[in-house]
Amino acid sequence: MSKKTLSTEEILHIAKLGNLTLTEKEVELFKKQLSSVIEYIDKLQEVDTKNVEPLSQTTGLTDIFRKDEPDEKRTLIPEEALKNTKSKENNLFKVKAVLTE
């Protein structure tokens, strides 16, 4: 198996995908650590998966619905929903502007 090494660019790219900012030291550390993990997971390529369906729901349950009606038991009042935020205004979460003029 070929030795897999992630480049600095690749590390910065996947950090960006995950909305993470890394220090230079972290870039070097994760480059080494994640490369060894990726080299390990590459061994899956040996397995013959022709005609095998992918699996994500192990018990096979499908199509579980509920009525599309408000349920008080799963609703929070504004005070409860807002009690952990550091930034609010008029019973709303206050966030930085997404759109600019």
Binding site: I14, A15, Q33, V37, T49, T59, N84
Partner: protein
């Protein structure tokens, strides 16, 4: 003491709920400065609740029929959302989060009369096998303070082991209930996926997360599952299959039961001492009337690779919600392991790699599940070691994430297949607990408890208590 003994004593007035709860807190205060099992204690509320229950018992001795866990001190892993009790997931990023609701399981435990003693330490977000990935102080193993208690439900394991509580809850995505149970001489259940509600449990990998618990005895463990299992309209993956009275069949014979020994698990890398302990336990099970035969799970060698593609993929998605807007701090506060898993998942899901990694691993997952299904055509249950080694030293694997991941090599395949696994104690080697895992088909928890109970009654390792070596 078991839950059954406590019920009898409370009924007869040998001690009160308040005395029981006070004893719990005094044990915790005696040991926890060194062990670090707890992140938050709920002392005032717990004592108030105990007082309330003492009054109820005085009025009506049959209250236990309604509240089967009345007065039982329980510790909750800090992934369990608790209304008005700080819930950190072992992370600093939500270190000040005070949830406005209870997880379904928490509500069920409280309704059954359990007393919430506190919230326990863990590898942050459930990411780890040792407890060392906590953003707080590292939890230590009460059997030897220089060793790990096993993770990720490290605090719950240690707290039950040193006697602070009777029940410690946990989540098991790849190993996180069974490994601490194995390292701390406890009974630890990873139930079938969908047997216990995930609603309000901070999500790690949603197609894997199984909500379990640790206790000192099999009876107690079965008793708790009677409360926690069942359909929850708030979790659409809970399965509408009848919840068994798991304690009822304890003590029944296992004569003629077929136990499978997967040959792929008894290979290089398995400590001889662990291997010998398991083989000795199989002889005991044969004496109890079971027959043992070798079986094969041919894709075992690929399980960890599939797991470390699928789980980080789901992790990267689940952790994307922590943006510091509705609660918690900013994403710079994530610890190193969370960052590693988010990045790994972002990589395996990213454009150009999805087919080669995520889709490939999801197909291998089918093959692993099929391996177990084929084995269960030949045998009733499987027995494997819980860990390939004895509890390892604190610091031994922290700098090598891949080695840390491989600590779970005998545990993760069960989560890929969505089947249940139960850790019971196989014995002691050099003063350390050795765990043995009993694995069955989906929804076979009753069967697992039956086997575990007879073995436990025969061996009685639960009577051995930690000696706080190096404490």
């Amino acid at each position: 003491m078991t839950i059954k003994d406590i019920e009898e004593s409370l009924k007869k007035g040998v001690f009160s709920c308040q005395e029981l709860v006070k004893e719990s807190f005094s044990t915790i205060k005696k040991h926890d400065k060194k062990i670090n099992a707890f992140l938050t204690l709920n002392e005032e509320q717990a004592l108030k609740q105990a007082n309330h229950y003492d009054n109820l018992i005085k009025k009506d001795k049959n209250i236990f029929d309604e509240k089967p866990l009345l007065g039982i001190p329980v510790a909750l892993k800090d992934l369990f959302t608790t209304k008005d009790i700080r819930t950190t997931a072992g992370s600093k990023i939500i270190g000040d989060y005070n949830p406005p609701f209870d997880a379904t399981v928490v509500k069920k435990l409280i309704d059954a009369g359990a007393i919430i003693i506190g919230k326990t330490n863990e590898d942050a977000w459930g990411h780890g096998s040792s407890g060392e990935n906590t953003d707080y102080e590292v939890t230590r193993n009460p059997y030897d303070l220089n060793r790990v208690p096993g993770g990720s439900s490290s605090g719950s394991g240690a707290a039950v082991a040193y006697g602070g509580v009777l029940v410690g809850t946990g989540t098991d995505t790849g190993s996180s209930v069974r490994l601490p149970a194995g390292f701390c001489n406890l009974v630890g259940l990873k139930p079938t996926y969908g047997r216990v509600s995930r609603y309000g449990i901070i999500a790690m990998a949603s197609s894997f997360d199984s909500i379990g618990h640790m206790t000192r005895t099999v009876y107690d463990n079965a008793k708790v599952l009677e409360v926690t299992a069942g359909v929850d309209p708030f979790d659409s993956t809970t399965v509408p299959i009848k919840v068994d009275q798991y304690t009822k069949k304890l003590g029944q014979s296992i004569k003629g039961m077929k136990i499978g020994l997967p040959k792929e698990y008894f290979v290089k890398g398995l400590d001889d001492k662990v291997s010998n302990s398991i083989k000795n336990s199989l002889k005991i099970l044969e004496k109890l009337g079971a027959t043992v035969k070798e079986v094969s799970l041919p894709h075992t060698d690929y399980a960890m690779a599939a797991y470390y593609i699928l789980v980080p993929s789901e992790v990267s998605s689940n952790l994307s919600r922590y943006d510091g807007i509705r609660y918690g701090g900013s994403r710079e506060m994530f610890g190193a392991e969370a960052k590693r898993r988010i990045m790994l998942g972002s990589y395996t899901l990213s454009s150009g790699y999805y087919d080669a990694y995520y889709l490939k691993a999801a197909k291998v997952r089918t093959l692993i599940k099929r391996d177990f299904e084929n084995a269960f055509k030949e045998v009733d249950v499987l027995i494997v070691p819980t860990s390939p080694t004895l509890p390892f030293k604190i610091g031994e694997k922290v700098d090598d994430p891949l080695q840390m991941y491989l600590s779970d090599i005998f545990l993760c395949p069960v989560n890929l297949a969505g089947i249940p696994g139960l850790n019971v104690q196989s014995g002691f080697v050099d003063g350390f607990p050795v765990g043995m895992q009993i694995i069955g088909p989906q929804f076979s928890e009753e069967l697992l408890y039956k086997v575990a109970y007879l073995f436990e009654q025969e061996t009685q390792y639960y009577k051995i208590r930690p000696k706080f070596k190096n404490g």
